[in-house]
């Protein structure tokens, strides 16, 4: 990895409008090979819009996308996949009623034979899916079992394993930990680090600063559709990030209110100061 090489994936001054709503305005973000860029922001900050631009679901109204320093136009998600940009979308990662193998290869099915006899090579796919799942630490007894039989964290890892397998260059993860418990989130974060060490450029979207801090090389913060700052690892701490995300003020206020409440009840209980919450509570999935 060299700092002189252009970023694998870059958005330069991109904007996106939906009617009169400004979803994103003049936002820049870049990620190099072997780096994790954590995209932080509160709900509605424009994180999802930005990654949909980077993964070809939307096209920017202004600004440019670049890959390896070259201008990039993505007409569709297929287009992005073909260029090695793999995205794990929030909640839409896998189909519960399809088997692990069928999920793993959906949209990128390898085939055997030619002409009318071209067929989906399920046997080979079963082996690949099983091997990939084992590599990320899930021992699958039967790859024909439905993904619905897996736990939430395991489903997310199926989606990540798939993205890693097909995404040779850049991996975009949209809130992969938001619906997970602490233990399962840790498993997912470990996979993110593994992808980084394999030289992938990773964009990791979250609103959970605690998940971002230990793994991010760069932090890009969005607030109300605009860039609120870009920082390298070590330049910011947890509280600064929270404040930049726009949630800091509200949380400080909440802490003050709770303190007051505690003081009022001081007669009944021993008063104690309420530490500022370290974590923004996750929103309901969806």
């Amino acid at each position: 990895m060299s700092d002189t090489a252009p970023p694998v994936l870059e958005a330069r001054g991109v904007s996106k409008y939906f009617g009169r709503v400004i979803a994103l305005e003049d936002v820049s973000l870049s990620v190099r090979a072997g780096e994790v860029n954590c995209l932080l922001g509160d709900n509605g900050a424009g994180k999802s819009t930005l990654i949909k631009l980077l993964s070809g679901v939307y096209q920017p109204d202004s600004g440019t996308l670049l890959m390896d320093g070259q201008p990039l136009e993505l007409a569709s998600p297929r287009d992005a996949l073909d260029r090695g940009i793999a995205t794990v979308f929030q909640d839409l990662a896998v189909m519960p009623l399809m088997s692990i193998t069928r999920n793993f290869f959906l949209g990128s099915e390898p085939t055997r034979g030619s002409g009318p006899f071209r067929r989906f090579d399920l046997a080979a796919c079963d082996d690949i899916a099983r091997a990939q799942m084992r590599e990320i630490g899930i021992e699958v007894r039967d790859t024909s079992q439905l993904v619905g039989t897996l736990s939430g964290g395991e489903r997310q890892t199926v989606a990540i394993a798939r993205a890693e397998y097909f995404g040779a260059r850049a991996l975009i993860l949209d809130e992969p930990t938001s619906a997970l418990g602490v233990k399962e989130a840790a498993i997912v974060l470990r996979h993110v680090l593994r992808a980084r060490s394999r030289g992938l450029a990773v964009i990791f979207i979250t609103h959970n600063v605690q998940h971002a801090l230990p793994i991010g090389d760069t932090f890009t913060i969005l607030n109300h559709g605009r860039l609120a700052g870009t920082y390298r690892r070590g330049e910011v701490d947890l509280e600064q990030l929270l404040r930049l995300m726009g949630g800091g003020e509200e949380l400080n206020e909440l802490a003050r209110e709770l303190e007051e409440l505690a003081r009022e009840n001081a007669g009944a209980r021993v008063a104690r100061t309420v530490p500022p919450p370290a974590e923004v509570p996750p929103p309901p999935a969806g």
């Binding site: 993964s55 996949l81 990662a93 399809m98 290869f105 071209r118 989906f120 039989t149 897996l150």
Partner: protein, 356 residues
């Protein structure tokens, strides 16, 4: 050999109990249901008539006709869409064929090609409207049901002053191309008089259901069908051409209706605008009994074969039960549908529940 007793199967190909695998297949309920329904009618009729050559030929003919539709309807439903227009399409395509043959005096092969082109074109238009507007296909094809039925009545009356076109037999007699649709595969003469005819639609049914099963389970397109029905947005994000999948399947259901219409017109010798009524619902029932989820994303074309067989057994079976007649067919069909939905819903939940 000394290693003969050692577990020879490496971990990565660990054996899965095949019975358990089968229990989790979408068509399991349909296979069990078909056997059950068969046994019930065997008991009720004592095998009389029901299990004789003519009874079996009758069951298979009913099953084949509805099964041709059920196979393509299953695929469409797995992709998350409905086609309520196929019943009307049977009437409309039959009229197009008969008019081409009798009124416009076209050769048989050309008339058949025009009929299929009409149906497939209509299917394309229907699919295109569904994909472009994003409206529920239930409503789009419901509108299509009425447009096709009314259009066939109006157009046929305007051209011929009638709503039935007969005289097809004279046009197709001895035509080798027509034999593809009205030949008899096997004819058994019954000692007491009469014959049991096993007709060519049975072969068409097996070919179409077999092809649909192969496409669904062994091709890329089949995986796209599952993905489209599972979540169209997620599938699109993974690069699946969702619109193409849906439009192709609407073309397939319309083509299967045209095939059934061609078989009927060439077997009966006439076309009637009212033909095919309720067939759209019977095809959906066939698919649902076969294990296809109404919500899409799950199902089986092979299962639809058993669904069709169940309908065939039921329709003929009731006829031979003493004290009953085919008036009761719809009552039993409704009951079967309800039972199938409950059982298949339970099985599907069992197959997709967390287990480890």
């Amino acid at each position: 050999m000394s290693t003969a007793d050692a577990p020879a199967v490496p971990a990565r190909t660990r054996r899965v109990n095949p019975l358990r695998r089968f229990l989790n297949r979408p068509e399991f309920g349909a296979v069990a249901g078909t056997i059950l329904v068969f046994l019930v009618f065997l008991l009720l009729t004592g095998g009389k008539g029901f299990l004789e050559a003519r009874g079996i030929a009758g069951q298979l003919q009913v099953a084949a006709q509805i099964g041709i539709l059920g196979a393509t309807v299953s695929l469409l439903m797995i992709a998350g869409e409905f086609d309520l227009s196929i019943g009307s399409m049977i009437g409309a395509a039959g009229l197009v064929l008969a008019l081409c043959l009798v009124h416009f005096q076209l050769p048989v092969w050309l008339a058949v090609i025009i009929t299929f082109a009409f149906a497939i074109g209509w299917g394309f238009l229907q699919g295109w409207i569904v994909v472009r507007t994003g409206l529920p296909s239930f409503l789009v094809t419901l509108a299509s049901l009425f447009i096709l039925r009314g259009g066939s009545i109006g157009a046929t009356r305007a051209i011929t002053n009638l709503t039935v076109v007969s005289g097809v037999n004279d046009k197709i007699a001895g035509d080798p191309f027509a034999a593809l649709f009205n030949a008899t595969l096997l004819s058994i003469t019954i000692p007491g008089g009469g014959r049991a005819d096993f007709r060519i639609e049975i072969l068409w049914w097996i070919i179409i259901a077999g092809l649909a099963t192969w496409v669904l389970l062994r091709t890329r397109f089949g995986n796209w069908i599952f993905g489209t029905g599972g979540s169209a947005t997620a599938a699109r994000n993974l690069g699946v051409p969702v619109a193409r999948v849906k439009i192709s399947l609407f073309m397939c259901t319309a083509a299967s209706a045209a095939l059934l219409a061609t078989i009927q017109v060439m077997s009966v010798g006439s076309a009637d605008v009212l033909r095919g009524q309720n067939k759209e619902f019977e095809a959906i029932i066939t698919a649902v009994i076969g294990g296809t989820a109404l919500s899409g994303g799950f199902g089986s074309a092979l299962g639809s074969m058993f669904g069709a067989l169940t309908l065939g057994i039921t329709q003929l079976g009731i006829f031979f039960v003493p004290g009953f007649n085919t008036d009761w067919y719809q009552v039993v069909l409704g009951g079967l549908l309800l039972a199938a939905v409950i059982v298949n819903d339970y099985l599907r939940r069992r197959a997709s529940e967390a287990r480890r």
